[in-house]
């Protein structure tokens, strides 16, 4: 990877990606291209491989075959500096995964200090600016277990942003939240999208996906069954499996 990737063009290209856990092949040949500034929502039943796909992109899961490139440079080959790649791709998890033994400020500044090599004062200044931007200014000294789920997830997003990533991967970031706390996290994501962040979201919030996504990908049986703008995918799905999935979502009152 070069030090600063180009800000335009194709940000992510995934080709024929396959990944198995034991006997079970979760991803059976994924092809996907994401342009810079594009927001893509991955939808599909639990176990359809949305999370695995995001984890492969962040190199948290080694892939079995295929390739992933960022701005034309392959990141799945040998001799790739994983730590450098991860600086360009932030990921936020369903279960927040904040460091429970560190204050909010320390959670956010750890990686900038250790991985970006920032002096502490500058890292803290940047962290405070981000906390302020997302309405968490008075929370910097708190430990994660004193925060609500929504606050924890916003801190987790700020922590990822503090590495100044070019791409954000969001793995069902609202699924573990109480319904009344979902909104504050979705607002943060909306702001990121408005700021031009390239994003890949796995989500069950269909209304939100319809709002925010440039494209929605429906995953089933380890492949991307349908890939279309939300206006098309939610109103006129082509594949029978997509139709069945959306019907169940509507019946559950989630669309």
């Amino acid at each position: 990877m070069t030090e600063s990737p180009p800000a335009e063009g194709e940000a992510i290209r995934i080709e024929a990606l396959r990944k198995s856990f034991g006997e079970h092949e979760v991803l059976q040949g994924i092809d996907l291209s994401v342009a810079t500034h594009e927001v893509i929502c991955l939808i599909g039943a639990s176990g359809s491989g949305k999370s695995t796909l995001l984890r492969c992109l962040n190199l948290l899961e080694p892939i079995d075959s295929g390739r992933i490139s960022l701005w034309g440079q392959e990141i799945t080959g040998a001799n790739v500096n994983q730590n450098l790649v991860r600086r360009y791709i932030g990921i936020v998890f369903q279960s927040f995964n904040l460091f429970p033994h560190m204050s909010v400020l320390h959670n956010i500044t750890l990686a900038p200090i250790k991985a970006r090599g920032l002096p502490r004062a500058q890292a803290e200044e940047e962290a405070r600016a981000l906390l302020d931007r997302f309405g968490l200014a008075d929370r910097e000294a708190d430990y994660p277990d004193r925060l609500s789920g929504g606050q924890q997830q916003r801190v987790a997003i700020v922590r990822a942003l503090a590495m100044q990533p070019q791409i954000m991967l969001l793995d069902e970031v609202t699924s573990a939240l109480d319904p009344e706390l979902v909104g504050e996290v979705l607002d943060v994501i909306r702001e990121l999208a408005a700021g031009g962040m390239t994003m890949l979201l796995a989500t069950h919030e269909m209304g939100f996906a319809r709002d925010i996504a440039n494209r929605v990908c429906f995953l089933a049986d380890g492949t991307i069954v349908e890939d279309a703008p939300p206006s098309v995918l939610f109103t006129d799905p082509k594949d029978e499996r997509t139709r069945r999935f959306l019907r169940r979502i509507v019946e559950a009152g989630r669309l």
Partner: protein, 297 residues
């Protein structure tokens, strides 16, 4: 929302500080517990005082003059101060403790490593732990304390007995403590590692700043428990002739033919271990309250 376990249901009828030694269940309960304590203690004292050999035992184990003499020592009469000798126990304890904490951590990290290159070291560390946990500490002390000098190597074979004792303590206790560390490292959820690595932190930084602090925090009570045990096991080094408290007491008893010196040594070890035991309790207590607070937040 708590990351450290759910709400703790064990707080029924307590103050939220866990079960207390002297349960505060009202005046009647206090009266009953006081009465039962008095009865039990009085019974034990009565058995001791009324036993047929009571007078002899009191003379051989609890003679005030002998206790004082063994405590202050008298080199002219051929015995050492048990009190001064305790200083050697304390020094051995501190030295051993520092090395144990380091060696045990290295062993635990090797055992939990996944790299193929380290495979032979994983096997070695497993054998190490199996061996030193299985052999009695006294035998290890004797083997090192008499074996190494017998090799007549330069420098290595000409150390004071206390040094061989510390080496033996480190070898034995590192095996136990490495298992404590291993449990602690395993208690840190894999998602914490994923979160740290996803931020671009290296494996070493993740271990140092994310995994280890949480792992150690989770095992402080069992670690302190092992330290208490180590404090008194320094007495075993006396078999090598090092003049620690127990050995000084033995020299007194074989010189004067009175065992009160052992009582002095026992009291001194209690003075050493009880503060650490209470400290351990308070750490456990604090941890419990912290989790309880976290569960309510």
């Amino acid at each position: 929302m708590s990351l450290g376990g759910g709400p703790i249901p064990g707080s029924f009828g307590t103050t939220g500080r866990g079960p207390r030694l002297l349960s505060g269940g009202g005046r009647r309960a206090t009266a009953i517990s006081t009465a039962s304590t008095v009865v039990v203690l009085a019974g034990l004292v009565a058995i001791f005082l009324l036993a047929p050999g009571s007078a002899e035992v009191r003379h051989t184990f609890f003679d005030p003059a002998d206790m004082w003499q063994s405590f202050i020592g008298n080199p002219k009469k051929g015995y050492y101060s048990v009190g001064a000798a305790l200083w050697l126990n304390i020094r051995m304890f501190i030295a051993a403790e520092i090395f144990i904490l380091i060696v045990a951590l290295v062993i635990a990290l090797i055992r939990l490593s996944t790299s193929a290159v380290l495979f032979p070291f994983r096997v070695l560390s497993m054998i190490y732990v199996d061996f030193f946990r299985g052999v009695p500490l006294l035998l290890i002390i004797l083997a090192i304390g008499f074996g190494v000098p017998a090799l007549r190597l330069p420098f290595v074979s000409s150390q004071p007995a206390a040094v061989y004792g510390v080496v033996a303590l480190v070898l034995s206790y590192s095996a136990y403590v490495s298992e404590v560390y291993r449990a602690g490292l395993n208690s840190v959820h894999q998602s914490q590692v994923a979160a740290a690595r996803s931020l671009g932190l290296s494996q070493a930084t993740t271990l140092r700043h994310v995994v280890l602090p949480q792992a150690v925090r989770n095992v402080i009570p069992p670690l302190l428990n092992d330290f208490i045990s180590l404090q008194k096991d320094t007495a075993l080094v006396g078999v090598l002739g090092a003049i620690e408290a127990n050995e000084a007491a033995q020299i007194y008893s074989s010189t004067v033919f009175n065992y009160s010196s052992y009582t002095v040594a026992a009291i001194l070890f209690l003075i050493l271990t009880i503060p650490l035991a209470r400290f351990t309790d308070s750490v456990i207590d604090r941890d419990r309250r912290r989790r309880l607070a976290g569960a309510q937040a």
